[in-house]
Structures are given as structure tokens and as C-alpha cells.
């Protein structure tokens, strides 16, 4: 087996030719999953994940049989491999690609109503879980300030707003726990877990009128009351939005509203009621 054709021009292509042209061919999406099913590893021992479309592009969502265990937005830096690794590092569970999304997940993403989706906080501490739970209660298309989130969660935690920002920044369920609906006290979006453009796109997809919100906060008003019912709300609350312009009464603080004889809305809870 003596071969003399080792020299010559083709050698110059040696390194790049097969590795470059043959590369790693793509395996079928559910290859790994079928391996595990065939071998008989119990389904509870691993998570599966899908890549879905969200208003801002791709979204990886990992889930166990009973609940969703994590999500991350697809960015140029976050490939499927990186998502699998970070999921493993955070939860200690392997994420295997699957073509079939968690029941109800696609609908939740389409409508923005992910409040009923069972989420597994996994290794999160109690305070963060409580904050995320509070954020989940913000309805689609509405905004709440950080102080509201801190207060709603405080029954269990007593966290202040700075701590809440930190917890939101580590939100492991981006989009599904809608932290893009949280604002600072002055009405500016908080977007701790997102790039600014992503937060804007998510809010635009829910039909939140950010120009209107900015106008409101510039005028110094924080709450919106109705002089027919004498109830005041957060301005994006569904009940506030149906007050007709002649009946709108802006308030800068809850105390002003109370002094004027208004009570707090029981849906959006501007103060604890």
C-alpha cells in the first residue's frame, strides 16, 4: 500500500476541504428524543425544548412533562447549544430538542396570556419566585410600576424595588413571565431582562401605547380616576382605559385621590386593598 501521491497541489487543501465542505450535517430534530424514548429513560428525567416564534423573533422554551422550566430569547449569541448548556447549568436537567411544544404554550405566546401556564421555578429562592408570581399577575397590555410588584410580592418577601430589579434581571422565563410590563415609578419601562428594542417590540405587540404613557408621566399624573364612579386606577388598567375623556381625573399620589374622596380600584390595586 505504498502511495506516492502525498505531495502536489492538493495537499494545500488538506485541512479545509472536508471539514469545511462536509461540516456537521444536521440531525433530524427529534433524533435525540427518539433515542431516549427507545432506550427507555423515564420522561421525568429530562426536559425537552422547542423553538417558537414570539413577537421579537425566536424563543426557546424548555419544559418537563408537567410544567415549563425555562425560556430564553434567540439572539446571535444564544444558539441552541448555548441554551441547552445554560439550562443544564441553571436547573441541572438536560434539555432535548423536540418538535412538539408544551400544551397551551403556542396559544399563550400568541395571545400574550401566559398567566395560567404552569411554571416550575426550579432552584429559584422564595423571594424571586414570589416576585415573578406577582409579575405574572399583570394582565396583557397593561403596565405596573416596580413599587406595585414589590408590594404584591411583599406578603412573602418584603423586598424593596432595587432588589426587585435584580430579580427581574435574572428572570428565567423571559416573555412567559412578562417583566416587560414592569415600569419605574416615572413610567419608563424597566426592561431588566431584555435589550431595550426587545422590550419595546413585546409591548408594541400587546398594543401598549408607550407614547401615551410617556405623555401621562410627563404631566406628573400617576393614577387615573373617574368622576362618575370615584374610583382611581393605574392608567393602563382595563377599567381606566374605558373612562371617557370628559370624566378623567388625574392624580399624582394615592393620598390626593383619597382626599378627593376616591377609592382604589380592586382589579389593579394601586394601593393594597
Amino acid at each position: 500500500m505504498n502511495r506516492k501521491d502525498h505531495g502536489g497541489p492538493p495537499v494545500s487543501r488538506n485541512g479545509e476541504e472536508p471539514a469545511g465542505l462536509l461540516g456537521t450535517p444536521p440531525a433530524p430534530a427529534d433524533f435525540a428524543l427518539r433515542v431516549l424514548q427507545r432506550v427507555g429513560v423515564p420522561r421525568e428525567r429530562y426536559d425537552t425544548y422547542v423553538r417558537l416564534d414570539s413577537p421579537t423573533g425566536g424563543l426557546f422554551v424548555a419544559f418537563a412533562p408537567e410544567n415549563v422550566t425555562g425560556s430564553a430569547l434567540v439572539t446571535p449569541g444564544l444558539t441552541a447549544e448555548r441554551f441547552e448548556e445554560s439550562h443544564r447549568a441553571r436547573t441541572g436537567r438536560s434539555a432535548i430538542p423536540t418538535p412538539k411544544p408544551f400544551p397551551g404554550l403556542t396559544t399563550a405566546l400568541r395571545t400574550g396570556r401566559a398567566g395560567k401556564l404552569p411554571l416550575d421555578p426550579g432552584p429559584l429562592d422564595g423571594a424571586t419566585a414570589a416576585v415573578l408570581q406577582a409579575v405574572r399577575a399583570i394582565p396583557a397590555g397593561q403596565l405596573r410600576p416596580l413599587s406595585w410588584v414589590a408590594r404584591e410580592a411583599s406578603a412573602r418577601t418584603g423586598a424593596d424595588t432595587d432588589a426587585v430589579v435584580g430579580m427581574l434581571a435574572r428572570n428565567p422565563f423571559v416573555v412567559l413571565v412578562p417583566c416587560h410590563r414592569v415600569t419605574y415609578e416615572n413610567g419608563a419601562p424597566c426592561d431588566a431582562a431584555y435589550l431595550p428594542a426587545v422590550g419595546d417590540a413585546l409591548r408594541a405587540a400587546e398594543g401598549i401605547d408607550m407614547a401615551g404613557v410617556r405623555q401621562w408621566s410627563h404631566s406628573g399624573a400617576v393614577f387615573l380616576g373617574s368622576d362618575t364612579t370615584h374610583i382611581y386606577c393605574h392608567p393602563t388598567c382595563a377599567h381606566a382605559r374605558r373612562i371617557t375623556p370628559p370624566h378623567r381625573v388625574p392624580f399624582a399620589t394615592a393620598r390626593d385621590a383619597r382626599r378627593a374622596g376616591y377609592r382604589a380600584c380592586k382589579s389593579c390595586r394601586p394601593v393594597s386593598v
Binding site: 500500500m1 502511495r3 501521491d5 502525498h6 492538493p10 487543501r13 488538506n14 476541504e17 472536508p18 471539514a19 465542505l21 462536509l22 461540516g23 456537521t24 450535517p25 440531525a27 433530524p28 433524533f31 435525540a32 427518539r34 433515542v35 431516549l36 427507545r38 432506550v39 429513560v41 423515564p42 428525567r45 429530562y46 441547552e84 443544564r88 438536560s94 434539555a95 432535548i96
Partner: protein
């Protein structure tokens, strides 16, 4: 990578199901890639890949923790995959399943006519390279694919082939030489395009 491999063996030693899931997550793609390039057929790569992992799991179940910890997961899996492939070639030559299989076996696995999906996937150059690869004799094809598709080191290739490192290098080199010659016979177009 080295660190990850160590963690993987530790996981396998600690808990078989958990470790095996991680093993599948990390290595399923390269096992599939290896079998696809060696067999030239997506359906076969799929079947044999399933077989490979089933064998791996069965073997791991009988290994003790020390033995699991001492594994080099990727090289070990590729050894199994290569054996599964060799067994498959042998048994399908001896016991052809259908008329198509007979033709295939006689032609020494040409598979030069990939399906429409594969043809769409492969650009012209890549398609020709894949076709040439499937014309290589099997004992060169495996080391070439291991080295240049899966991207293993010569030490790992040698481990899979169960031979000294020098032999592995020679096999890859000869395989590459053959491949070059196969592509060369297709004419001067290659030189123009590259």
C-alpha cells in the same frame, strides 16, 4: 471540552439515566453525522444511530462506577457506532432484505443518487464530495469521517480503530489521498471552482 467530558463521566458514574441523557444531548449530533457520512443515507444513519445508543445504554448498565468514570465518551460512542455500521454492512451483504438491497450490496454502497431532499441540502461541491466519500473503501472511510467530519483528534481516532496513533494517521492520509484522486477524475472543473 475536556472539562465537560469529565463532568459527563462523573454524571454517568453517579446516575445512569441522568448521565445517559446528557450523553445523548451532547453526542447525538456527532454520532448521527458520523453514520450519515459513512452510510450516505439519512434513513440508515437514523436507524443505526438509535442502535448505537441502545447498545451504549445496555453496556453502561453493566459497567461499574469506576469503569464508567474511566470512559472517553465520544471515542467510546464512535467505537460502538463504527461496529454497528460494520455489522450492518456485513449482515446486509449476507442477508439482503430486498431487491434494492442486493443492488446496493453489489455496487458496494454507491448511493450516488441522493433523494431530492438531500440534493437540495447539498450544494454541488458538497454533493460530489459526499458521493466520492461513499466510494471510498470502508476501512478508510471510517477514519476519514471520524477525523474530518466529527473532528476528532488522531488519538481518539486511534482509540476507535483500536490501533496505534501512527496507523490512524496513515489511514486518514491514505483515505484523503483516495478521495482526492476520486474527485480529481471528475475533471478540471474542480480546479476552476475552488
Amino acid at each position: 471540552m475536556d472539562n465537560a467530558a469529565e463532568q459527563l463521566t462523573d454524571l454517568l458514574a453517579a446516575d445512569l439515566d441522568d448521565g445517559f441523557t446528557e450523553l445523548v444531548r451532547v453526542h447525538a449530533k456527532s454520532v448521527h453525522a458520523f453514520l450519515l457520512r459513512v452510510s450516505g443515507s439519512a434513513a440508515e444513519a437514523d436507524d443505526l444511530g438509535q442502535d448505537t445508543f441502545l447498545r451504549a445504554y445496555t453496556a453502561l448498565r453493566d459497567y461499574g462506577p469506576e469503569r464508567r468514570r474511566a470512559l472517553h465518551p465520544r471515542a467510546w460512542l464512535m467505537t460502538i457506532a463504527a461496529n454497528v455500521w460494520r455489522n450492518h454492512v456485513r449482515s446486509s451483504t449476507r442477508r439482503p432484505v430486498s431487491a434494492i438491497r442486493v443492488d446496493d450490496a453489489q455496487d458496494n454502497w454507491p448511493d450516488v443518487t441522493p433523494g431530492p431532499a438531500e440534493r437540495a441540502l447539498n450544494t454541488d461541491d458538497r454533493g460530489r464530495l459526499v458521493a466520492a466519500l461513499s466510494e471510498l473503501p470502508e476501512y478508510y472511510r471510517i477514519p476519514v469521517v471520524l477525523r474530518h467530519v466529527v473532528g476528532m483528534s488522531y488519538a481518539e481516532v486511534a482509540q476507535v480503530q483500536d490501533c496505534p496513533v501512527g496507523t490512524a494517521k496513515a489511514q486518514v492520509s491514505r483515505g484523503m489521498g483516495d478521495l482526492r484522486r476520486l474527485l480529481g477524475t471528475e475533471g478540471e472543473l474542480r480546479e476552476v471552482t475552488s
